[in-house]
């Protein structure tokens, strides 16, 4: 049974549709990376799955239950982000005790050791923590609760490079020891690429890609050559992205080539190379360099 199932799920806030007719199945006990540009509805999707907000239309199931107002889903799920509400009156140590009260799989020992490692004293108040420390604390809570469904929404906000690396490492180790369904959203795909099994890319209110990360890596090819050469040899392929870097032009095209075609391209002097998952993601969502230049160029011309 898939952990999360969406059938034609739509979410709108008044007149604004954030997610439109999503169909999706998240596999159980798999780490899925949720990526997409700002404001495409990643958080909205997670909050719907968490049961915080209600789907406007369609059928959403988490382990077979509708999450909104479901005690079962709430007990087996945790949603971690940097806006988590923790009461001012409690210290970090108190908060750990509360987690112990509410989550059956909670590992108090692990949480204490991790907080010690990250230099978070138990006597501190959550409110006085810096942004990075707060994210670290929340991430530790997310790891130590060991919920069958664990969702991290931008967990690394404000963390320094060391803390980020440690977080990914701790998450992976804990996942291997205690497999569970993990949904992880972040803008730094290159950092979490090694961790992920599946990728879910949301773009323009719907799903642009969902599948194993290897599939995404094989989805495109990068062709580099002079623009004229590309234009004469590579026009039969669907071009996802074009960019100019110095004398060379790079086209990112759909990977639907036979061996012979690739050889042909190489003979024409075109550099053919594979893409990493994060490069493929950036190309798909139009985040590769140069986009915003057009805005400034246009302004200068006027």
């Amino acid at each position: 049974m898939p952990a999360i199932t969406l059938k034609n799920v739509t979410k709108s806030y008044r007149s604004i549709t954030v997610l439109n007719q999503l169909n999706l199945e998240i596999r159980e006990n798999v780490i899925t990376g949720l990526v997409g540009r700002n404001g495409v509805g990643k958080t909205t999707l997670m909050k719907m799955v968490a049961g915080f907000i209600k789907e406007s239309d369609g059928e959403l199931r988490v382990f077979g239950e509708r999450p909104f107002n479901s005690l079962k889903v709430s007990a087996n799920m945790i949603f971690i982000d940097d806006m988590m509400g923790f009461p001012d009156a409690l210290t970090l140590g108190d908060l750990l005790m509360e987690c112990d009260r509410f989550y059956e799989n909670w590992d108090q020992d692990l949480a204490m050791r991790l907080l010690e490692y990250f230099k978070l004293p138990l006597t501190l108040n959550h409110r006085v923590l810096s942004k990075g420390k707060r994210s670290t604390f929340n991430a530790v809570v997310g790891i130590a609760t060991r919920c069958p469904l664990t969702m991290f929404d931008e967990p690394i906000t404000g963390m320094d490079a060391g803390a980020r690396r440690d977080f990914y490492r701790a998450l992976l180790k804990d996942y291997l020891a205690h497999p569970r369904t993990i949904l992880l959203s972040s803008h730094h795909m290159e950092e979490m690429e090694d961790l992920l099994e599946d990728i879910l890319i949301i773009d323009g209110k719907s799903i642009a890609f969902h599948g194993p990360i290897t599939e995404l890596q094989e989805k495109f090819l990068s062709l580099q050559a002079k623009e004229s050469v590309l234009k004469s040899h590579a026009t039969r392929y669907g071009v996802v992205h074009r960019s100019n870097a110095g004398p060379m032009t790079e086209w990112i095209v759909d990977n639907e080539h036979t061996e012979a075609e690739v050889d042909e391209l190489k003979q024409a002097g075109i550099r053919v190379s594979a893409l990493s998952a994060s490069e493929a993601y950036l190309a798909m969502t139009g985040q590769t360099t140069g986009g915003v230049d057009d805005v400034y160029n246009a302004m200068e011309r006027e």
Binding site: M1, K72, P87, N105
Partner: protein
């Protein structure tokens, strides 16, 4: 797969304990308010003199703890209101809950706070008597726990009931405002109309709404009225909150 199964009761209980530990300030505030009330309002007694013209004069001074009662009721309204804040909701929803257990926990918390408010306010009456004893040449005529225990306990019961009622009113107002900010305008308008035009919130023949409660002479009927009112208030709050989205941008 699900590994954890909670019953509604169990979780409501845990959420309630969580609320108690995070909302300690509510009780501190009550105590501070009552201390303030005792120090600054305790003098608010009325004195009158009776002169029989034969060289004997009696000074009757009646001291009441109406001031503290007022402050406690005010506190109750605010506490009920604050329990509906977005922060309170987000804190609860950071842990395991649904809207039902969240509301039940709130209700348990309100009952606890009301009981505490009721008991302490009535006990403050005894503090007032001790304060009065410091005056000279005084004969105190009063009823207390020992002289009329039934009276004493009925006072606690009634005070608790009023506190509970006020908290639930605050809770409902807060809930409605959380549901839609338009209710602020509506409540403001009602408030304005009430004070400007003196529109009487009347039920039946010129009886005010408040008389419905304080005019009741039978304690059982009074309790019944309060219980029914609280149920209705909680029912409306429950219905409204049960559809509310949390952590909504």
């Amino acid at each position: 797969m699900f590994t954890t199964q909670w019953s509604v009761n169990e979780l409501a209980k845990r959420q309630y304990l969580f609320k108690l530990s995070t909302n300690g300030a509510v009780f501190t505030t009550l105590i501070v308010l009552q201390i303030i009330g005792t120090i600054f309002i305790s003098g608010a007694g009325s004195t009158f003199m009776n002169d029989w013209g034969e060289g004997i004069t009696f000074n009757f001074t009646s001291i009441s703890n109406d001031g503290q009662v007022g402050l406690t009721l005010f506190w109750a309204l605010i506490v009920g209101f604050l329990l509906t804040s977005a922060a309170q909701r987000n804190e609860s929803f950071s842990f395991v809950t649904n809207r039902l257990t969240f509301q039940l926990a709130n209700f348990y918390f309100i009952c606890t706070a009301a009981l505490l408010g009721g008991v302490t306010t009535v006990l403050l009456g005894s503090v007032m008597k001790i304060v009065a004893l410091f005056g000279d040449n005084i004969i105190i005529e009063t009823t207390g726990l020992l002289t009329s225990p039934l009276d004493f306990f009925s006072r606690i019961l009634v005070m608790t009931a009023y506190t509970l009622l006020l908290m639930m009113i605050g809770y409902l107002l807060g809930t409605l405002i959380q549901f839609s900010k338009l209710f602020i305008v509506l409540f403001g308008l009602i408030w304005f109309m009430y004070f400007t035009f003196g529109i009487n919130l009347s039920v039946g023949e010129g009886e005010s709404l408040l008389y419905f409660y304080y005019g009741e002479t039978s304690i059982l009927l009074f309790i019944l009225k309060v219980v029914v009112s609280v149920s209705v208030l909680f029912g409306i709050s429950f219905f409204v909150t049960n559809r509310l989205e949390v952590r909504n941008p």
